[in-house]
């Protein structure tokens, strides 16, 4: 591999990783606040892509309103899922909640397949002009840069929301101890709803961006990136916003380099590397070892 090729593959890896990072942010946020691995997150991402698709094709909206509508729609769906499926089980064991999340995931996938059909659909070609950007011998395209920038901005924004605002304080309090937070006058239900709204809106944004990037959306589009993003979140240290971002980028880069080296083993070797890193550092890259309260 020449140096130019190496640089190009690094850029490819970061581009792929930025997609994972964008989805991983929502996973990690919900986990950080209520300790639930929300398997339906990747399907909210799909729902966002569909809302964006209909906004762009039926309502003929330009890019920014499409994105906002998809984020709002995905946010509402996320809150509804929490209200209908997760809240009644809040006192139940974690396993029940996890299985419910998988159920919601399957319901959304197959429900969408049933209503809209499994045909891949494509966004209008002119919604966001994709231009090649040449940087000397290497190149990338505008859309990948937008996705990378979006995940970076959202990561910073999330950090600000969680550590600098009142609702963020409520989220952290809820995360630390739900009952104590309620005793202190924090509306736990509203806080958890807000968490889901924000996390799902992020997924919605990712859905639209990735939908435009690959120009193809279908009801099962969330499954594969969902698994990768979840891995990225765990890898970075689940519950930690910067961890999700970093984990996503690193996973993308590892996967790309393994593919470039020997493509038939891409999936396997990428994950073996992750397992090794997790054996050495079980709480993830940025995770700190926290002792369980008994």
């Amino acid at each position: 591999m020449t140096f130019v090729e190496f640089l190009q593959q690094l850029i490819n890896g970061l581009s792929l990783g930025s997609v994972y990072a964008l989805i991983a942010l929502g996973y990690t946020m919900v986990y950080g606040i209520i300790g639930l691995i929300n398997f339906a997150h990747c399907d909210i991402y799909m729902v966002g892509a569909y809302i964006g698709f209909f906004a762009a094709t039926s309502l003929h909206l330009p890019f920014i309103p499409t994105l906002i509508l998809a984020m709002a729609g995905a946010g509402i769906v996320g809150v509804l899922v929490e209200r209908i499926a997760y809240r009644p089980l809040r006192k139940a064991s974690n396993i029940s909640l996890l299985i419910t999340a998988m159920g919601v995931s399957l319901l959304l996938e197959n429900g969408f397949n049933c209503i809209f059909g499994g045909d891949p659909r494509s966004y209008p070609h002119d919604i966001l002009k994709q231009t090649n950007i040449e940087l000397g011998p290497v190149h990338t395209d505008s859309l990948h840069l937008i996705i990378l920038a979006t995940s970076l901005v959202l990561m910073v924004l999330l950090q600000i929301i969680i550590y600098r605002t009142k609702i963020g304080k409520a989220m952290r309090a809820t995360s630390a101890d739900k009952d104590a937070a309620a005793l202190m006058g924090i509306n736990v239900n509203a806080t958890i709803s807000a968490t889901f709204a924000i996390g799902s809106a992020l997924a919605g944004a990712a859905g639209v961006l990735v939908g435009i990037l690959y120009n193809s959306i279908d009801p099962y589009m969330g499954i594969q990136p969902g698994i990768k993003a979840f891995t990225a979140a765990v890898f970075g240290g689940i519950g930690l916003i910067p961890g999700a971002f970093l984990g996503g980028l690193i996973l993308g880069v590892i996967e790309t380099f393994v593919t470039a080296w020997y493509s038939p083993l891409a999936g396997a070797i990428g994950f073996i590397i992750l397992i090794i890193i997790l054996i050495i550092k079980p709480s993830g890259l940025l995770g700190k070892k926290v002792s369980e309260k008994v």
């Binding site: 020449t2 090729e5 190009q8 593959q9 490819n12 890896g13 581009s15 792929l16 997609v19 397949n113 049933c114 059909g117 499994g118 045909d119 891949p120 494509s122 070609h125 994709q130 090649n132 190149h139 395209d141 990735v210 690959y214 120009n215 193809s216 279908d218 099962y220 499954i223 594969q224 996967e255 790309t256 380099f257 593919t259 470039a260 493509s263 038939p264 891409a266 999936g267």
Partner: protein
């Protein structure tokens, strides 16, 4: 309390529903009079009506339903009406097996047309063989499908044939000296074409890369291929994937001519891939611009019923159904053993050319090369291996 009761009642009903299905499944299969009861001949159809290959399944289903309508209008087969019962397998082998067992055991079909995709056809073929139900796929091109036994037929050419044709086309027509291949490691169809191309291409294969089902980012593989500057890039996969690959390949700066198989055949290719898919060549079973009278008549009938142009999948499945219906008609029997023998001896001019079967029950016929240009598929030439 009421909530709990409702939940319990629902789950009991659900379990009962499943039990019903499996109860039927244990029934006797392959009775000689299978499908002929009640004055109708039941024929099963299996294909991806939803999922990533749904445009194939839906076209195929339309082709068969057109034949069903025509046959019934003309008085059915030997006075009996034909009834096509369709099952959606979403392009998934497991669903094809479940759907096929439902058709055989609970619907008691006389024969099955399909499955449409190779992976599904491969998994259903041994089951049809076991129940002694004739299965005829119009579109499953994987070579192993008909190896399950003498119940399994196909009216299209095979993957090795397509790979071989495109390798020959690359050298003879495109004057290609170097080629690269990018294929799906987890898909029988993609792998079958890639391997045949690789072994038949007389020039140099400069690079072979793979990906997995569900991948949408191929930049790593394409970046590796780009510096080799191959004359042609062979992409043996379905439209939903190759359209993304071709788009990304042009972005990476690959200028090679794209070649592919019948998986390219879908109008969706252009809506996903845009301008990048223009100028590609792929092998196919049929072209709407073929001058033969069978093609013209088929297009006219199809347009009258569906108000759209038929693609190769519609034509192929129509042909597969025709072989089956003609054989039942000729023998005046739905007995699997009789129908099987009639199909083996079949020789007739159909929409996709003259069809007869070789000793492995595969159709013997020529391929059509189609070029994509200006957002449309155009007939390029007929090509013999």
């Amino acid at each position: 309390m009421l909530k709990k009761f409702v939940a319990c009642a629902l789950s009991v009903a659900l379990v009962a529903g499943f039990a019903g299905c499996s109860g039927n499944a244990s029934g006797q299969g392959g009775s000689p009079a299978g499908g002929a009861a009640g004055g109708t001949i039941k024929i099963g159809f299996i294909g991806p009506l939803t999922g990533s290959a749904s445009s194939y399944g839906q076209s195929s289903q339309r082709g068969l339903q057109l034949l069903e309508e025509q046959t019934n209008k003309a008085g059915g087969i030997n006075g009996q009406k034909v009834k096509v019962i369709s099952v959606d397998d979403e392009g998934k082998p497991a669903s094809a097996v479940n759907g096929g067992q439902k058709l055989i055991n609970s619907d008691k079909v006389a024969a099955i047309v399909g499955p449409v995709t190779s992976t599904s056809a491969n998994s259903l073929a041994p089951i049809c063989q076991r129940y002694n139900i004739p299965m005829i796929t119009g579109t499953g091109t994987n070579v192993n499908i008909t190896k399950s036994g003498d119940c399994i037929f196909r009216t299209c050419f095979t993957d090795p044939f397509q790979g071989k044709i495109m390798a020959k086309f690359a050298t003879d027509d495109r004057k290609a000296k170097t080629a690269a291949i990018l294929y799906n490691n987890g898909d029988d169809y993609s792998k079958g074409l890639a391997e045949a191309f690789k072994s038949s291409f007389t020039g140099t294969i400069v690079d072979t890369e793979t990906y997995n089902t569900g991948d949408k980012d191929f930049n790593a593989q394409l970046t590796k291929i780009a510096p080799h500057k191959p004359d042609v890039l062979f992409l043996p996969d379905y439209y939903s994937v190759v359209s993304i690959i071709m788009k990304e390949a042009r972005n990476v700066g690959i200028k090679s001519t794209f070649l592919g198989g019948d998986g390219f055949d879908s109008p969706e290719l252009f809506s996903i891939g845009g301008d990048a898919v223009n100028g590609a060549y792929f092998s196919d079973h049929y072209s709407a611009t073929d001058p033969s009278k069978e093609v013209a008549q088929f297009i006219k009938d199809y347009k009258a019923k569906y108000n759209s142009d038929p693609d190769a999948f519609a034509a192929l499945t129509y042909d597969a159904g025709k072989v089956l219906f003609d054989s039942i008609k000729k023998t005046k029997s739905t007995d699997a053993n009789v129908v099987k023998n009639a199909m083996k001896a079949y020789n007739g001019q159909l929409v996709c050319g003259n069809i007869k079967f070789d000793s492995d029950r595969n159709a013997v016929k020529a391929a059509v090369i189609i070029k994509t240009q200006g957002g449309k598929e155009t007939f390029y030439k007929k090509f013999l291996a």
